[in-house]
């Protein structure tokens, strides 16, 4: 009975757990951008990537005992918000002209 908790207790959640999780999240986001055609979902995937970065920053902030890493997350949030606004604006302008268009449909310019 006590073996399992002690084993669990022996396991410490170190920074690499968080960083690894961040890397996974980042990768999922990146892959999402590659495989989804709906531009909205692509934006969401980019948000996933930004979140992964945020997680990384917070983790580093803790291991370095430095507040700077946490402050950065604020700015990332602002940037994410601004990006989404403009991105959705572009999307609105685009989809208003071509309702239901996917990212693949917008491929007139090429070569």
């Amino acid at each position: 009975m006590s073996a399992a908790p002690s084993l669990l207790a022996a396991i410490r959640v170190t920074e690499i757990w968080y960083l690894g999780l961040g890397a996974m999240l980042f990768t999922i986001g990146a892959v999402g951008v590659l495989v989804r055609r709906n531009p909205l979902v692509m934006f969401m995937c980019i948000e996933l990537m930004l979140n992964a970065v945020n997680l990384t920053f917070v983790t580093f902030a803790r291991s370095l005992d430095d507040v700077g890493g946490q402050v950065v997350v604020f700015f990332v949030l602002v940037v994410a918000a601004a990006e989404v606004v403009v991105g959705l604006g572009i999307l609105v302008a685009l989809l208003r002209r071509r309702p239901g268009a996917t990212a693949d449909d917008v491929a007139e310019l090429k070569g």
């Binding site: 531009p39 572009i90 302008a93 310019l109």
Partner: protein, 522 residues
């Protein structure tokens, strides 16, 4: 408000001193943009549209003046570069030089935009506002002394340009360009940010001065050539991965292969004056960030990043020149050419020497004129709808519009690197830097790619001078060259030739503008 707080609770919040001088150029641009926005929004009857452009030029000019004032200080040997805003801003010759170039790019693009907006029946001062704000972002990047500030500047610059790209609401390709630019830009920003995070983890700070000068665990500075690995053995993988991801971000902004893919599509689809800004201002800002981070901050890690910039330069040179060969759209051709120019500028960056930085700066400055002029001509020739950009539209242009054709030819030849144009000296300086640093093989690759790229410029010249006009083009109305565009073309033309004959003063200033680690707080 913060001031009030600070006054009320001095021990709670000790505001850093604000070095106005260092941020005046940014403030001028932002203030000018906001003023324009307010006036345009509040005034009953709309002012003449040219006023917007004029205002933008004035604001950019004001920013340039404030930069020049700053230049006097930072290049003064007694005073020199300084940091401001709690070390977030680094005011040095480099930031000033780049700032001036970006302001020029804003002004030129604004002049082009004037006639363009009227022709395309597009409204509003927003384009100018966004351009000025974007320019402010560029200035922020140039003077950023903190990776976060750099990132914010990059986003300010980019997000505004995403909007600019998508702004021509009646052209489907404009939105397509905007969408592509946005998605890919945000995507690459995420990589860039991740890179910042890794570097933060590796160094413990995002402040460039602190990174560069280093803070040992004991808290004693190790000097400019600080390398943590000197203590630990080998550059930490975290830092190296950070470099790689930063290169992704910068590479995207400057359109270096393999992160260039957006450029042709976006250049082709976006409103042409915007493209002029994109190809000059955005590229300049991207390279400014790159130089600040790699050359100045991580100069001690030169041997780590040089090989990869080398590879990037080779790929960019080849892709830019080779892919241009089969294009039939002039805007697209110029897009590829701008990629190959990025490769040339990378030559200077990767040399990792003061000469290299100076060469890159010279290249960027002169390229701004050449490319703004080129896209200026494209703007004019594209006619209403902004879609007459195919090569055959240029057939026989020399017969119909001899002056325009000649001016365009000069821009094209300058881009090809023909002597007695600024473009030649631009190539000369970066080549010299590369060779000086021992990278003669890269110089050879670059020159060979220039030969391939020359084909593209000559093709346009062939169309203009050696091909007969399309039958319907002859019967069409003559092209109207708006006054703004005339002015812009004249300035660009003059600069291209003047710097082609007398590059000395400009080259000397680039020597003063070599980026350094700004460590002195004023």
């Amino acid at each position: 408000m913060l001031g009030i707080v600070a006054q009320l609770a001095p021990d709670l919040l000790r505001l850093p001193p604000v070095e106005w001088k260092a941020i005046v150029p940014v403030l001028v641009l932002v203030g000018g943009a906001l003023l324009l926005l307010l006036v345009a929004a509040l005034s009953r009857q709309k002012p003449a549209r040219s006023v917007y452009a004029l205002w933008t030029v004035l604001v950019a000019g004001g920013a340039v003046i404030s930069e020049v004032v700053l230049w006097e200080e930072v290049t003064d040997s007694a005073r020199g570069p300084f940091t401001a805003m709690a070390g977030a801003v680094g005011a040095d010759g480099f930031s000033v030089f780049v700032g001036v170039v970006i302001c020029l790019s804003v002004a030129l693009a604004a002049l082009l935009a004037d006639g363009y907006l009227r022709r395309e029946s597009m409204e509003g001062p927003e384009l100018y506002v966004l351009m000025m704000l974007s320019g402010a972002g560029g200035l922020i990047m140039a003077s950023a002394n903190d990776l976060i500030v750099l990132f914010l500047g990059l986003e300010i610059l980019s997000i505004a340009v995403y909007v600019l790209a998508a702004m021509h609401l009646r052209r489907a390709t404009s939105q397509e360009a905007g969408m592509k630019y946005f998605v890919l830009g945000a995507f690459s920003s995420a990589f860039f940010l991740y890179g910042i995070a890794l570097i933060y983890g590796a160094t413990g700070t995002t402040n460039l001065t602190k990174i560069a000068t280093g803070v040992a665990s004991a808290g004693a500075p190790l000097g400019a050539e600080f390398r943590p690995d000197a203590l630990l053995g080998g550059t930490p993988a975290l830092l190296l991965a950070g470099f790689a991801l930063l290169v992704v971000g910068f590479g995207f902004k400057v359109a270096a292969a393999p992160f260039h893919t957006w450029a042709p599509d976006v250049y082709q689809g976006s409103p042409t004056p915007t493209v002029a800004f994109m190809a000059s201002g955005v590229k300049v800002a991207g390279f400014a960030g790159m130089l600040r981070v790699f050359y100045a901050t991580f100069g001690g890690y030169r041997s780590d990043w040089q090989p990869y910039l080398y590879a990037l330069a080779v790929a960019t040179l080849i892709v830019g020149s080779v892919l241009a060969v089969v294009q039939t759209d002039v805007k697209r051709m110029l897009a590829y050419s701008s990629i190959s120019h990025a490769g040339f500028i990378l030559l200077g960056v990767q040399a990792g020497t003061a000469n290299g930085v100076a060469g890159s700066l010279f290249y960027l400055a002169t390229y701004t004129f050449m490319v703004a002029g080129s896209f200026g001509v494209v703007t004019v020739v594209a006619r209403r709808g902004d879609n007459r950009t195919s090569l055959h539209e240029y057939n026989g242009l020399a017969k119909r519009e001899p002056v325009l054709a000649f001016v365009f030819t000069v821009f094209l030849l300058a881009q090809a690197g023909v002597p007695l144009t600024a473009g030649f000296f631009a190539k000369f300086y970066v080549l010299r830097a590369a060779i000086d640093a021992g990278y003669w093989h890269l110089a050879v690759v670059a020159m060979l790619s220039a030969v391939v790229a020359a084909f593209l410029y000559l093709r346009i010249v062939v169309a203009m001078y050696m091909t007969d006009s399309d039958p319907d083009a002859v019967t069409e109305r003559r092209l109207r060259v708006p006054y703004g565009a005339r002015l812009a073309l004249a300035v660009a033309f003059g600069a291209t030739l003047v710097f082609g004959f007398l590059p000395g003063p400009l080259a000397d200033s680039t020597q003063d503008a070599v980026v350094t680690v700004v460590a002195r707080a004023r």
